[in-house]
């Protein structure tokens, strides 16, 4: 038996694999350094601000690390979270206007609807591209991304031009000219306008991961489904759809997460009427000069998004390791 010789022979091979040495170390380190510098540290600073005491100063808070004696100390002030909790649970005088509650509810509702619409519109897009001739796929993908070639702000402003209810609103002009309506419809400055803007802006983020998933689908599985008696619609529901679950999850996250924190689209298309988390944070950091409160809202939003992602991730790992 030569069994002992095999691991010994394999060991030097494993140690000196391709791309060994310090180069590989640095390449491996880069993403960690990046995440540390641009996510972990800033988030820690925000957490720090959220645990501070508001103060009329520059900056307008007292850090929990600023001990009076000058000795290292940590005195977190949870008052911002307490105030936020009162607002959200509508307790006491603070909850009278329910601005924070409305902001969270609006943001989550708009993001959910935008995700759902993107999924319903994006799935046929991705399916069609994945089934197209291999030579046509790249062109079609490029067309999906074409709007990205113009500025994001420009595209949102273009929607204002389309939806406006005054004489410059193209859609209302058209409807009036056709005699479909007698009065201009209030299309702009409401939740519907924000939803349209979000779906329009985020659609490619749904299409791309869905496409990447659907293009890998083994078409023989669909043939097998047909052979086993499944009509095309049943084959889609029982084979294509479940097998594209990962693409659906990835696309939905790419749309939902930025949509929850979106500020520009609600601000421009929703006017002042649509309260969102982004708007709330903007007001508290800016006009209200309540940095701890703004930071607490930001922290709560991140936690709110992380929890479902981790649940989904764990669920996905446990359910299937297949394609």
């Amino acid at each position: 038996m030569k069994a002992p010789a095999t691991p010994a022979a394999a060991r030097p091979d494993a140690a000196s694999g391709p791309g060994s040495g310090s180069g590989r170390l640095w390449v491996g380190l880069l993403p960690w350094l990046w995440m540390l510098s641009f996510f972990v540290l800033p988030f820690a600073l925000i957490v720090n601000v959220s645990l501070s005491t508001p103060e009329l100063a520059v900056p307008p808070y007292v850090s929990p690390f600023a001990g009076e004696s000058g000795a290292p100390a940590f005195h977190p002030d949870p008052s911002a979270y307490r105030r936020l909790g009162d607002e959200l649970l509508a307790r006491g005088a603070a909850g009278a206007e329910r601005q924070y509650l409305a902001a969270f509810a609006n943001s989550l509702l708009l993001a959910s609807l935008a995700t759902l619409c993107c999924l319903l519109i994006g799935y046929p897009f991705a399916y069609h591209i994945a089934r197209a001739r291999a030579s046509a796929r790249n062109t079609l993908l490029m067309l999906v991304m074409l709007p990205f070639w113009t500025s994001f702000l420009l595209r949102v402003y273009a929607w204002m031009g389309l939806l406006d209810s005054s004489e410059v609103g193209l859609i209302n002009q058209l409807l009036l000219a056709l005699g479909v309506v007698a009065e201009p419809l209030p299309l702009l400055y409401n939740g519907g306008a924000v939803l349209v803007g979000m779906v329009y802006s985020y659609l490619p983020f749904m299409v791309l991961p869905l496409y990447a998933n659907l293009v890998k689908l083994d078409l023989r599985l669909l043939e097998a489904a047909r052979d086993l008696g499944a009509r095309p619609s049943i084959a889609f529901l029982r084979v294509t759809l479940p097998l594209s679950r990962r693409g659906i999850v990835a696309g939905s996250m790419l749309v939902f997460i930025p949509a929850v924190g979106e500020f520009v689209i609600p601000d421009l298309l929703g006017g002042g009427g649509v309260l969102t988390i982004g708007r709330r944070i903007w007001d508290d950091f800016g006009p209200n000069q309540d940095w701890p409160m703004a930071a607490a809202v930001a922290v709560l939003m991140v936690l709110m998004l992380i929890a479902p992602i981790m649940l989904l991730h764990r669920h996905g790992r446990a359910r299937e390791d297949g394609p």
Binding site: R220, E223, R226, D227, L228, R231, L243, E320, D321
Partner: protein, 384 residues
């Protein structure tokens, strides 16, 4: 193109049995290429039929047309009296086992087997589906794996699940596309027998597609040999082996020595054999004088004698065709040996010689001079 095989024109059926599946002049064109050309064939109920051919010969396309996954460009397919032309794949009473098995990765083993049962109309009760899934998995001895994912199974286990899935709907016709090609050579042979036993037990009519002549000969009661889209010969394995009707079937079923030449005075001349080859006139029609012809000679029909005793031995065994030869290679296989022999002109021949043939004398060694001979009736004359 080439081989001008138009044997499909007549309907070839098993003797005396009613046709269960009738394939009539079926052809399939992809662009300018005919993948399947004018194939006609009948298959009896409970028969196991093999479509044999090299890759790209159209055998899988023919199978897919029967399943409804491709539409024939010409001809029609009739199964149990029903013309399948207007029946879409999902309503056909056929089920296919795909080459790569195509098991659904998102379903368990039991879920895969149940998939087809869920599509049956009128709907089956849940308990009925469960019972049938159970019975199917029992049949292929995979009951213990019912809750597993297909990716967790070995190739042989996946094959059995795929078989159970395609049998679950009790199809009138079971289609197997290269059923064992994805398996290791070692387990393939054992699986061949298991698979045939199982198909016989279930009693389902079956068409299998394969490029492996051994698989076709082991599993099928009849074989159809396809080449370049056409069906060139249909028959039982021993029939095709003994009476190939063209060079392609002669070479595809078993090994053979092929001599090419022209007919002159009832002999084959111009073949790279030292003398004109004596033909047995009784066997079949002799092609016209001067026309091209081929002689197929199975290795076991070739006799090999030491030069010293050659002439009387040849005379005693009634061999009309003889030539001196040199032993180039010997492959000893126990009961018999394969001799690779070089004729004076340089062409080689193979002979399968039983080990007992040599008696007490030592068998010829590599490089030895010998005489090869065969009796005229052992050669099969082919016109194409």
């Amino acid at each position: 193109m080439g081989a001008g095989a138009q044997a499909g024109a007549e309907v070839l059926g098993p003797a005396g049995e009613a046709a269960y599946l009738r394939i009539e002049h079926v052809g399939k064109r992809f662009g300018d290429v005919w993948a399947v050309r004018d194939v006609s064939l009948t298959i009896a109920e409970r028969e196991i039929f093999a479509l044999l051919g090299s890759s790209g010969c159209g055998k899988s396309t023919l199978l897919r047309m029967i399943a409804g996954l491709e539409t024939p460009s010409t001809g029609r397919i009739v199964l149990d009296g029903e013309d399948l032309a207007r029946v879409p794949a999902h309503r056909r009473p056929t089920n296919m086992m795909f080459q790569s098995y195509a098991l659904f990765p998102h379903l368990t083993v039991a879920g895969n087997v149940a998939f087809g049962l869920h599509q049956l109309r009128p709907r089956l009760a849940r308990a009925e589906i469960d019972a049938r899934v159970d019975a199917m998995l029992d049949l292929v001895q995979m009951k213990a794996y019912a809750g597993r994912a297909p990716q967790e199974l070995s190739g042989g286990q996946q094959q059995r699940v795929a078989l159970a899935r395609s049998l679950a709907r009790e199809p009138k016709l079971l289609l197997l596309d290269e059923p064992l090609a994805a398996l290791d050579k070692k387990i393939r042979r054992q699986t061949q027998f298991e698979l045939v036993g199982l198909i016989r037990r279930v009693g389902v009519t079956c068409i299998l597609v394969t490029h492996d002549q051994e698989e076709a000969m082991t599993m099928a009661s009849r074989i159809g040999i396809m080449s370049e889209g056409a069906l060139v010969q249909v028959g039982t394995p021993d029939d095709i082996y003994a009476h190939p009707n063209c060079c392609f079937s002669a070479g595809f079923i078993g090994e053979t020595n092929l001599f090419e030449g022209r007919i002159r005075d009832g002999r084959l001349v111009g073949a790279d054999f030292p003398q004109p080859i004596v033909l047995a006139l009784a066997c079949g029609d002799l092609p016209a004088e001067g026309s091209a012809a081929w002689l197929s000679l199975r290795p076991e029909c070739v006799r090999v004698h030491p030069l010293a005793a050659a002439d009387e031995a040849a005379a005693a065994s009634g061999c009309e065709n003889r030539a001196p030869a040199e032993v180039a290679e010997i492959a000893y296989l126990g009961g018999h040996s394969i001799y690779h022999l070089r004729l004076p002109g340089g062409r080689s021949m193979i002979a399968s010689v039983p080990s007992a043939h040599w008696g007490d004398a030592p068998p010829p060694a590599r490089g030895a001079r010998v005489q090869v001979c065969w009796a005229a009736p052992d050669g099969v004359l082919l016109s194409r």
